[in-house]
């Protein structure tokens, strides 16, 4: 048995023994499921909290971070094995969220010692929750057009402007922002810096945005003369665009992976809905066109999972490359097709918003279908992902956008 095989056996045994039974099968264990932590956390499920505590105690919330920053000091391979074993029984990671999946890895790479020591351990212990301040009303796909201003004033930076689509800003403690620190820079990608802001700082207003699904996972975040210590600037001043792109790389690949769930589960889910709504409890579904669509979905799902596995197997380093764009494009498309087909088989029973005549599962499904429309937009639209692949993988010349 190799060391990694021995570690897998150990990881499996620990996960199987410790993960609360009520959490089994509830998750694909993507990085954005389960307990997200922070001081404003609304999750109270005792099993979820127990699983969080066990993970923190084992130092397996951030398995590959250095021990001095609250991590487990393990290798990336070992971290992958831990996550695979959690995924195999369908339990979420003990702690999830942006701090672990995106912000932490970037701070490890670009932050200074003081920033790491201040911010990483509370993330690993689920005490502080982070959100991302990227998009602005006039900086969506054209992210480099951002205008949030951070002006130096002695030892402080003074922030003025607005962020939008800040996921769960209402439930977060800190935000990492892209801000313009040099408005006179010759190119819009220059003069941008990454700044860390405590959301309790005076001058910040957070307002939730209602979506077509009825959910409100996103917020608008306003900055009115918000003063933060100059030491909260990450990396080199005015060279934040490099860091921004690195974070977007983590985001792309983690969104692709978070869509993955269990192989075959999308097909099983939609087939089960078809059986229920069309009263075909077993055997062949009579409509050959529907069967063809179900099979096409199942095939795409299998191909997507195999491609994720292939990319993972061939990744020589842990830094996500442009292939993350492929998994983001395909994963979000798969998610939408799954919900579209699931809605189609439900017929009028899929039209319920609330109240009598509709069962809970169908109401939830309809809202998830509406929510899925955002999957090809958030984290960089499919069109932006295609621009990235076109330029960085295929080497096609840049043209007018």
């Amino acid at each position: 048995m190799t060391d990694l095989e021995a570690f897998r056996a150990e990881a499996r045994a620990w996960v199987v023994e410790n993960a609360p039974k009520s959490l089994w099968g509830t998750s694909a264990s993507g990085p954005f499921e389960g307990y997200w932590g922070g001081s404003k956390c609304e999750q109270t499920d005792p099993d979820l909290l127990r699983w969080r505590d066990l993970g923190i105690e084992k130092r397996w919330t951030a398995p590959s971070w250095p021990e001095e920053y609250g991590g487990g000091g393990l290798s990336r391979e070992q971290e992958l094995i831990i996550h695979e074993e959690m995924k195999a029984i369908g339990v979420p990671r003990p702690v999830g969220g942006q701090g672990l999946a995106m912000f932490g890895p970037v701070l490890l790479q670009y932050g200074n010692d003081a920033q790491r020591a201040q911010h990483l351990p509370p993330i690993a212990r689920a005490e502080v929750r982070w959100c991302q301040g990227y998009s602005e009303p006039n900086a969506g796909s054209d992210l480099a057009n951002l205008q949030l201003k951070a002006a130096r004033n002695g030892d402080e930076l003074v922030l003025n402007g607005q962020k939008i689509w800040t996921s769960h800003a209402n439930l977060s403690d800190w935000i990492y922002c892209l801000a313009r620190t040099d408005p006179s820079a010759p190119k819009k990608q220059m003069g941008i810096s990454v700044i860390l802001v405590d959301l309790d700082t005076p001058g910040i207003t957070v307002r939730r945005i209602d979506l077509i699904s009825g959910y409100s996972p996103f917020c608008e975040t306003f900055f009115d003369n918000v003063r933060v210590p100059a030491g909260n600037l990450v990396g080199v001043e005015n060279e934040g665009w490099t860091i921004a792109k690195a974070i977007l790389g983590y985001e792309r690949s983690s969104i692709g992976r978070s869509i993955a769930r269990q192989p075959g589960s999308a097909q099983r889910e939609v087939v089960a809905r078809a059986r229920r709504h069309l009263s075909v409890p077993e055997g062949v579904i009579p409509d050959p066109l529907l069967r063809d669509e179900l099979a096409a979905l199942g095939m795409l799902e299998e191909a997507f999972h195999l491609t994720l596995a292939r990319i993972q197997q061939s990744a020589e380093s842990g830094t996500p490359g442009p292939e993350g764009s492929i998994t983001k494009i395909v994963g979000s498309e798969l998610k939408q097709r799954r919900f579209e087909l699931g809605m189609k088989v439900a017929g009028a029973q899929g039209l319920g918003w609330e109240g009598p005549g509709f069962d809970e599962d169908d109401l939830q499904y309809t809202r998830d279908w509406l929510r899925s429309r955002a999957s090809t937009i958030e984290g960089g639209s499919s069109e932006i992902q295609k621009n990235i692949v076109s330029k960085r993988v295929l080497g096609l010349p840049e043209g007018k956008k």
Partner: protein
Amino acid sequence: MTRAVTRETSEDRAPSLLLNEEQKMLSKTAHDFIRSRGPAARIRSFRDSGDEVGFSRELWGEMAELGWLGLQIPERYQGMGLGFFDLAVVLEESGRELMPEPFVSTLLLGAQALLLGGSEQQKRALLPGVAAGDTLVSVGYEEAGRQGGASLPAMLANESGDGFELSGEKLHVLDGHMADRIIVSAATSSHGCTLFLIDPAQPSVTVTRQSRIDGLSSAIVRLEGVPVKRDAMVGELDAGAALLEAVFDRASVGLAAQMLGASEQAFADTIDYIKEREQFGVPIGSFQALQHRAVSVYTDIALTRSVVLAAARAVDESPVEVPRLASLAQAMASDTFMHAAKEAIQMHGGIGVTDAHDIGFYMKRAQASYMMFGTPAQHRKRWAELHGY
């Protein structure tokens, strides 16, 4: 909410989808050899010169010497004793240049039928010659009005003396005009068919070469009371349909590997072209309308690569997964190749529809491959059946 957790081994962890060092070397060697010795333009020369063979026996012999034809054939039949995965590595490269050599007829149909159903005597008699490049073995299953090898063929095998007499006609027998042996499916009862190994040199066999668009050669093979002994049966009596299905599964995976290679090459040529070709004073590859479509082809190819490798791995390591993954590979590779070929022609513009340019051959081969072992829609139907709906 707690759902039942099923731990299906096949879904637990993905198979290894990477080439090992030897396979990477094999891929590189095959790539360089085929690019320099077997370019797609040969299809035009074979056609225009009215070549009676339609491919190069010399090149086939050289590839035999390199060990490629016997990669998957066990050592006791003078093969290399490696796996189907290794063969798939070479097939992908052969697909890049649409090689007309008898990969499909002999390595993917004839040899697989023998490996899966052949008697020890048949294997000993034929497989060493296949590995050496001397013996060509094809399979005849297409019939007029019965596409794709129906489970009950119109070709009849009537019992006669201590054997059978075969009568009927097979169409599109790949490399039938050059084959040393042909395995045909024939009805042996009202409900079952059997595979028989015949020698096309026998007097009551007529072989007529067909002229096709795709650069592959095929023949009409007509049997008029061809006598065969019982030891000419490949596999058991009345068990031909299941055997043929297993052969088609492997052939589908191998053909999918060729389609993957062909898609990659058509795509690479197209990307090169749109980087060079200028209109409105700029390379047309700078237009987003083309860029996004190019990424769409690239994405299809990336997905297809994963399913082809997984299916080839399954042939070696998890036979129970082969039907499902073969259908997946064949369906996706067919759609991808067709997509890549259509976009290749469109992005090449006018030059793409001229006979002088090679890109049109990719379109023609895409059409042939699309239906060779079942269309994508037929494979999706099978996928649904295999998944219980």
